[in-house]
Symmetry: C2
């Protein structure tokens, strides 16, 4: 039976809310193609609403093609659900390729999805309403490429508080996600430069650098971080690193390596370090090392961070901090662009940070993730897997490594788990080429932020059973 939480309808009519709830369930695949819907009477009784309400909602769904009725049989979900999701089939040439049906895994360790129920919708909504109610004329003006001064100031304070970084708001540039900052940096630093990325590493950065026309080379990391000698040999001018929590290995670049890297950058005028601090807010114990940005004496570090990890991936706001020396050049070269983030969201986020809501939210999420992580690790340690697995983690960030010594082929284990509806990526997938992974071959990247807390023991049970079965 369809369950609808009418407590959430705030301000919508019963009909609208019912209509949109059912539509969402269809779009999300919770109601499947050809599934029979309850009769109007049954649903009305079940939900405690009038039959008219259900009838109106059903009529609208029929009008829009989400459901259809068969005389004397009832109402059914149309097969439009899937077509809508993947783009309706084209009448003419070249339909968009049919995507594989989005897998609804029991546990997806490859996803960065935000935790449902954890986003502060009400608070955000109230803040947005206050901003809009001010009808400030500046809400209607485009902002230059740097973004609104309010958000840039709020970010400065946040960085001072969380990362002890002393920066000036004029150094801050707001972007629509880190992806667009990467592109912007290629335009700014020049596509004739050689860009280096960590190997293994975050593929998307490399893809974007390449698509934007740079030569982009992978440079190996060891347990202290990127190998500076190799970076030197690669002839790179610009390097993208995540020193506070490397993806996917979780390695934290040690202080010695940080100074070596800064030293490397200082040797030539054209060298820059892009410091990607993407999940530094989620450090669970101990004091973090200072950012490269804070210890840089030579205006060589471009610091990048995002609100996608802390708020939601659907939230396209990121920022970078330029070294003071580059601010003027940046304004000269890219100053004609507009900021890509709407003023509404910039003002709302600024207020959300300034009034302390953002910090509270981070702390709440940190507690949530810490407990989720501990549950998962404890469950792994108490399982049959414990004998053959080791966990590599640094009490930081939203992922850790799980290494197995099962004697089985890692891809085979991955497939076994997938068969049990557990999706997990191999560490070797992040190497360029994968063979570079070598002995690390049997390690898995556990991106745990999106899994359901209530499923932890069942997940570990399934993972364990797959290996047991394999042994027999």
């Amino acid at each position: 039976m369809i369950t609808i939480d009418f407590a959430k309808r705030q301000g919508m009519t019963l009909t609208d809310f019912l209509y949109s709830s059912i539509k969402t369930q269809i779009l999300d695949g919770l109601l499947k193609e050809n599934e029979k819907l309850p009769s109007k009477r049954t649903l009305a009784l079940h939900l405690g609403v009038s039959v008219i309400t259900v009838q109106n909602a059903y009529s609208q769904l029929i009008d829009e093609g989400f459901i259809f009725s068969v005389e004397k049989k009832g109402f059914f979900v149309s097969d439009i659900a899937d077509r809508l999701k993947n783009g309706r089939a084209l009448h003419k040439t070249g339909a968009r390729p049919a995507k594989p049906k989005p897998d609804n895994f029991f546990a997806d360790f490859t996803s960065n999805a935000a935790v449902p129920g954890k986003f502060p919708f009400t608070l955000w909504s109230r803040t947005m309403r206050q901003i809009l109610a001010s009808e400030n004329e500046r809400l209607l003006k485009r902002t230059d490429v740097f973004g609104t001064i309010e958000l840039r100031r709020a970010i400065c304070r946040h960085l001072k508080e969380f990362r002890n970084m002393n920066i000036d708001e004029s150094q801050v540039i707001i972007g629509a996600g880190t992806e667009s900052l990467y592109s912007m940096l290629v335009l700014f630093l020049g596509r004739d430069k050689i860009f280096a990325v960590e190997n293994p590493g975050y593929h998307k950065a490399a893809e974007i650098f390449r698509l934007n026309g740079t030569k982009c080379v992978p440079v190996k990391i060891d347990s202290s971080g990127i190998i500076v000698d190799d970076l030197q040999k690669a002839g790179a001018s610009v390097v993208h690193v995540s020193p506070s929590h490397h993806f996917p290995t979780g390695i934290i670049m040690n202080f010695k390596r940080r100074t070596e890297l800064l030293q490397w950058a200082s040797l030539e005028e054209s060298r820059y370090i892009i410091e990607d601090d993407y999940d530094s807010e989620f450090r669970f114990t101990g004091r973090p090392l200072p950012t490269l940005q804070s210890i840089d004496q030579n205006d060589r570090v471009i610091y990048i961070n995002t609100f996608s990890k802390t708020l939601s991936p659907s939230f396209r706001i990121s920022y970078m901090v330029l070294p003071p020396k580059l601010v003027q050049q940046f304004a000269g070269k890219l100053g004609f662009y507009s900021c890509q983030v709407s003023s509404f969201e910039q003002f709302t986020l600024a207020k959300f940070i300034e009034d302390g809501s953002y910090e509270k939210h981070i702390n709440r999420m940190k507690n949530y993730y810490r407990s989720l992580r501990n549950n998962l690790i404890t469950a792994l340690e108490n399982s049959e897997l414990a004998k053959i697995c080791s966990i590599h983690e640094e009490n930081s960030g939203l992922h850790f490594l799980l290494s197995l010594k099962s004697g089985f082929d890692a891809h085979k284990i991955q497939q076994k788990w997938k068969d049990l509806s557990i999706n997990i990526q191999l560490l070797s997938d992040y190497y360029e080429p994968p063979e570079e992974a070598g002995a690390q071959g049997e390690s898995f990247v556990v991106n745990y932020s999106g899994i359901n807390r209530g499923r932890v023991s069942e997940i570990v049970q399934r993972m364990s059973s797959a290996i047991q079965a394999e042994k027999m």
Copy 2:
């Protein structure tokens, strides 16, 4: 005396609202550096609030450095206002270049600012609230580069209704402003291609194509639109045009030229037309010609439009419609990107379109602009200027051309008007190089959307008087 409209504070405390209103007035330059503020008592009396309210607001402004107090003298606006706007002076090297102080012109014919008081804040806020209240999990998921299916469907319906275009939602891609679509198109079509732009034309498109690494050539237009022979000679593969209302001349590409242009595109596999339909919603009389996209038989037209003109420039949502043939290629090449627009705004805008609010808003703005435009043109025709000026317009869009035959140097007139606080751009500024303008040299681009309706006669009076004075 500071005026504050407390009716607008909706939900904010009196103190917060007072604080933020004064801050805004400082940031907007309405309260100037060193200007004396009313005493707490006077302001409290004037606004009908308690002295404590004013005191708290003032304290916060002092804490944040927006105002300062001098013992026994009172409260004054800090000189921080300007520094905040342009980025505070940097302690170390390379402060951001001091921008010229934003000119508050009596009339600015170069601005695309939205009309204050015309944005439907309340309606938008309500729609956003409904969206957030639904707490739909999909609000928290990043969308792929195409954007949410809801917004893409809404755009299809809108294009069907407004432009009689029959497209499928799978062809639509949502972007954060046309600027980012231009960049995306270079990545997609290839920076090795030669891009052509109209001359005169919209400089920003050319700048972005060049910055992204293409060779970009200006191609002349005549009274029917871009000259296809010249396009052919330039060796271009991709051409950016605005056939429904050329910027800045206002020319509408005639049907014959449209078919010639499509014919040109069909001759080689690699040729594409970017059709920029940026202000087509504001056609005041007559039936518009069909878009190139609608009459294209060969999958050669990429249609682009934006919500910046119809809603507000601070609103970073644009879209493009790919020919069906390119959809699959686009997904293959750029499919790994996320959509740059937040899901919140995508869902809100989709609902805003679907429930008819967007159409109502456009109609309201169309009436407003039509009347503003008529007032301005009538005032010009009834002024002394009438004898020496002619107006070129096509009953469409938010700008028209004003040509003078004064016998004076156009730059000198421009400066005279500027001295009277009227800012207006020369048509020749949009030519590459400006000398190409030739006989058109004394034409001005009248971008009237942002001017104050109540000032029209005074504006024309000033424009006229400048020329009269010159004659003496």
